[in-house]
Amino acid sequence: MTRSRTTRSVVLSLAVLSTLAAAGCGSSSDDPGSPTGGGIAGSAQKDSGAATDGVIKIGLLSTLDGAYAALGQSANQGAKVALVNAGATLDGTGDRDGITGLSIGGQDVELVIESSDATPDAALAATRQLVEKDAVDILVGPLSGDEGLAVKEYARQHPEVTFVNGTSGAQDTTLRDPAPNFFRFTTDGAQWMAGLGAYAADDLGYDKVVTIGEDYSFPYDQVGGFMAPFCADGGTVPDKIWVPLGTKDFSSYIATIPSDVDALFVALGGADVLNFTKQLDESPLAGTPILGGSISVDGSVIEGLGDRAEGIISAGPVAALDTPEYRAYADTLAATFPDAPPPGLFDVGYYIEMTATLDALDEVEGVLDDGHEALNAALTSLQLETPVGPVELDENRQAIANNYLFEVRGGSSELIETVPEVNQTLGLDRDEYIAQPANDRDNPSCP
């Protein structure tokens, strides 16, 4: 009796647990904040997301669950700033609050919000929910690299829906084998490194750098984007360390780093650099210089590291520029979300993608009953002046945009160089670049 009950309850628990994990810990359930008012009009046309049914439904997918929850909060704020700029009124300042009062071509625009926990299966489940149950016409998202690869594959099977990226930065979402209805107005993880590898090899004179990053597509591309120019300019990377996503304890990995490295390239997310650096300084490698990935050196890391952060070099697509576009965006963000941190990669990325979506919708006056032909054509030829510089798309519907190089000086990340109009092949010959193996654990290699 005891035994059967024990076994049953454990098996049951494990089953439920794994189901929940697959569903993004269940938090992506329906929520009262998302607008359901248009549900009646929408459900009449449930079978076709493409119909002109008097409502334009835009799905917003980011990560409000799990380790990247803070990034998802920022992402949704950026997307909503774009909607506010277009004339929408927010239902509230919460992450899952919808919008009202925006219409394009005589159709009300409705925002449906879903969340994943940064894993591809959770992103796919949320995408299915948005496309198949909520019947969105356009989906903006997802946030993270592997999610983007999964959503691209899904997009291919659903040509009646237009997919606009969030901030997911895996190179092969658009570089190799792209989906014709997937658009990315932000640059990818390798493009975000433009400028850093050459700076480390030429200006800082580093010969030997070990990289450490999380074990999935986005850090592969960040490391690849750093290494391509670094190795070309004579640098070597004797070892690349890949850790599981969500690792907090790096001490065992740190113990394996050779003692004669010039610097460490750290492509970890969010505040993990804080943990990593503190643990590094509790090892014989204390004080080794750090080069950071695009999402590695944020305000909380700089604050947490104090003087140790001085001199950390990183690169990314978002910089506090002295342009009217940037100032206008920063002001609207602060006015709309008083608690929001200053503009960063995720809110600016989602802002750009949502702005592109709304601009293209405006251009075609909301017409979607032609199988999205006009909308997709408008997106393809769109040229945007964004808060972080001009953006246009290449033949794979992938952004060409500026990239920025930063150094932490006096407690904040200062812009030291602008790399203009970085394309997806980093300025190299396109056919040659595509013929190389895709960035992964082992490629590129220069030990």
């Binding site: 009950r5 628990s13 439920v16 269940g26 380790a67 990247y68 001490s251 990995y253 969010g270 505040a271």
Partner: protein, 330 residues
């Protein structure tokens, strides 16, 4: 009292005929696994080996703090508490607030653990008790709590990682023969041993512990001897939550606390107690040691497959000892 005494030999809590063979099995598996990894790498770097072992031991300490509460609750209440990771998370966040407000690490540790214990107690009294005896509803209820706690902590403390910070006394490193190591991590191991010893004394030498052990074996007979079993169940649930809260502060002080840690430590707890034997506190210690050491060695020698290796250990243990290393065969 005689019934209570008579019940103890069958209990799987502290001692039993299987203990020696079980311990031997732990040591054998750990030694074999580490030896295989070291040999594979051809590494004979003594410093690396020392750091790897110390890392494994300190991880094991943290895992034990969390998993001992999980196994206590399971052993007595037969509830697979899927909100156990949430107790860890809540403990970490409350500890951060207390540290931030008062500056005292010790106060944060004790205060947060007590707060989480109270939370667990209330949950058990107000909700869990209502569905007593129905494993499906019990599991769903604890999952419900975990979702509520995740969203509440996200709305109160935000999504960024928060670092409680080690106490000033331990916030540096020591150097022995070229070996550099964090003082806090070593102290954490000490804390785990202290808690383990306290649990041993509680279960082995006090009247309460004796009653708990009797309750594990046969709650019905125990109730007929006049012991108020429901009160005891609540106390044990509170104690389990207390230990998870303690773990939250101890872990959050050097690994920081953030969203997603709840699922991670729930998984670690499940792994540790399944390897060690469900319901056994010594089993939790053995499981934590094995998991911590294997994980640490795998991270050094097989970094890409460290997760695979760690869970591989669970598969191997379950294949040869389905009841876990120190689990009683029922």
């Amino acid at each position: 009292m005689s019934q209570v005494e008579a019940a103890t030999p069958r209990s799987s809590w502290i001692a039993g005929p299987h203990r020696l063979s079980g311990t031997a099995a732990v040591v054998a598996v750990a030694v074999l696994a580490s030896a295989a990894l070291v040999v594979r790498d051809g590494s004979n770097d003594g410093l690396l080996l020392a750091v790897t072992i110390l890392n494994g031991l300190s991880s094991a300490g943290l895992y034990f703090l969390v998993a001992s509460g999980f196994t206590l609750i399971f052993g007595l209440l037969r509830v697979t508490n899927l909100a156990h990771g949430s107790f860890y998370l809540a403990g970490g966040y409350i500890g951060w607030t207390l540290r931030d407000a008062t500056g005292s690490w010790l106060l944060a540790l004790v205060g947060a653990a007590l707060a989480v214990a109270a939370m667990g107690l209330l949950f058990q009294l107000l909700l869990l008790r209502r569905v007593d005896g129905d494993p499906i509803r019990e599991s769903l209820l604890t999952i419900g709590l975990s979702v509520v706690v995740a969203d509440l902590t996200l709305s109160i403390w935000g999504g960024s990682s928060l670092d409680i910070g080690a106490p000033a006394l331990l916030d540096s490193t020591f150097t022995v023969n070229g070996l550099v190591y964090s003082e806090y991590r070593l102290a954490l191991l000490g804390l785990a041993i202290l808690v383990g010893a306290a649990l041993y004394v509680l279960l082995k030498c006090t009247r309460l512990g004796m009653t708990i052990r009797a309750g594990v074996d046969d709650p019905v007979i125990l109730a007929t001897t006049g012991v108020n079993v429901p009160v005891m169940l609540s106390l044990v649930f509170g104690l389990g939550a207390f230990l998870a809260g303690l773990g939250g502060v101890a872990g959050g002080s050097y690994l920081s606390i953030s969203q997603g840690e709840d699922a991670r430590y729930l998984l670690v707890s499940l792994l540790v107690v399944i390897v060690g034997g469900l319901g056994s506190v010594t089993g939790a210690a053995a499981g934590a040691l094995l998991v911590g050491l294997v994980e640490s060695f795998a991270q050094v020698h097989l970094p890409t497959y460290s997760v695979l290796v760690t869970f591989g250990v669970m598969i191997v243990v379950l294949a040869f000892r389905p009841q876990g290393l120190l689990g009683a065969s029922r």
